[in-house]
């Protein structure tokens, strides 16, 4: 899994390990979705991103719609969509986990696309039941569309599902930088901090995302 021996460029081993971690979690039971459902969500998002036919999957229709729209054009998601999906049975906690799954898989896939590499096959799901873990702190819906443990802020976006919040932070720490490293304007890997922010800004501009 994620054997980059034939990659066009040497791939950082810490990054490869972070991707393996994403795939292992993807295949495993999550907080509200089973492993097979998480892999199905990823398959829908991946197909939508490529404007391909959505594969037949065993998911509720609102989850398929949400995974497809988030996968293909996240800026098109509206409050009305989220409310409609909720009224049709996609509760906020399952929706938050779905966002986590789609977004993390998109990170891994985009990395491969950016280096002109084939996508990693989706993992074989593991058996088991979702944990139904509740956040340690109370959550509420304020100005955003989903519950969070405090006023909307990027570091707590997925806090209604702590495992997804932790997974996001873990992956981002390797693909971009940790929150601690973000305090350093001169942080450097293969790119300078300014070059990293240039890439980030252009990506967000294409996606029409304010952030």
């Amino acid at each position: 899994m994620f054997d980059f021996a034939a990659a066009p460029l040497p791939i950082r081993e810490d990054l490869a390990d972070a991707f393996r971690h994403v795939w292992k979690r993807l295949a495993s039971p999550g907080t509200w979705w089973a492993g097979a459902e998480r892999v199905a969500i990823a398959a829908v998002a991946r197909a939508a991103y490529a404007s391909a036919d959505i594969p037949p999957v065993d998911l509720p229709e609102p989850a398929i719609e949400a995974a497809a729209l988030l996968g293909q054009r996240p800026s098109a998601v509206t409050r009305s969509h989220v409310a409609d999906w909720g009224e049709r049975g996609l509760d906020p906690y399952r929706y938050v986990e779905l966002i986590g799954v789609v977004s993390q898989v998109t990170t891994v896939d985009t990395f491969h696309r950016g280096l002109a590499m084939n996508l990693e096959p989706l993992p074989v799901p593991s058996a088991g039941e979702p944990s139904h873990e509740e956040p340690a702190s109370p959550v509420s819906v304020t100005k955003a569309w989903v519950p969070m443990i405090g006023p909307p802020n990027i570091p707590i976006t997925l806090s209604a599902v702590p495992a997804e919040m932790a997974a996001l932070e873990h992956l981002s720490g390797f693909a971009y930088m940790t929150y601690e490293e973000m305090q350093n304007p001169a942080f450097q890997r293969g790119l300078s901090r300014a070059q990293m922010e240039l890439v980030a800004s252009r990506t967000s501009a294409i996606n029409e995302c304010f952030y």
Binding site: P8, L9, I11, L70, P74, S75, A76, V77, T78, V82, Y95, I99, V102, S103, Q104, T106, T107, D109, T110, F111, H112, R113, G114, L115, K143, A144, W145, V146, P152, I154, T157, L158, L168, L171, S172, A175, Y176, M182, P185, G190, L191, S192, A194, Q195, M196, E197, L198, V199, A200, S201, R202, T203, S204, A205, I206, N207, E208, C209, F210, Y211
Partner: protein, 109 residues
């Protein structure tokens, strides 16, 4: 974050190529990096764009660029998926950038 990091490290940057997708943002390898983002998200000319970054900045830079593009594909999906509001403080602090780049035209602005 781009403006801040450039200011703190005494680097000049032109933000307009971020919105237009073309031109020289004045950072080393900047034009090639913007080209790699464009190609990656368009799914066209990716190997050529990657190789231009390698030629300008090296292979490690191209790998990190791909990772950062991936990271922001993730963050954009999260921010848009949860309906992240843009606070009044951010709007005030970023007013010049919002106007320059036309960020108020974005669906979630």
């Amino acid at each position: 974050m781009l403006s801040w990091s450039c200011k703190e490290t005494n680097q000049k940057v032109d933000l307009l190529p971020i919105a237009s997708g073309t031109g020289d943002p004045l950072l080393p390898g900047g034009e090639a990096l913007i080209g790699m983002v464009n190609a990656t998200l368009a799914g066209s000319g990716v190997a050529d764009a990657r190789d231009k970054v390698v030629a300008a900045l090296g292979g490690e830079a191209a790998v990190d660029a791909a990772a950062v593009i991936g990271n922001f594909e993730m963050m954009n999906r999260i921010a848009d998926g949860v309906g992240m509001p843009v606070g009044a403080g951010s709007r005030k602090r970023m007013a010049d950038v919002i106007e320059l780049l036309g960020l108020d035209q974005y669906p979630h602005a």
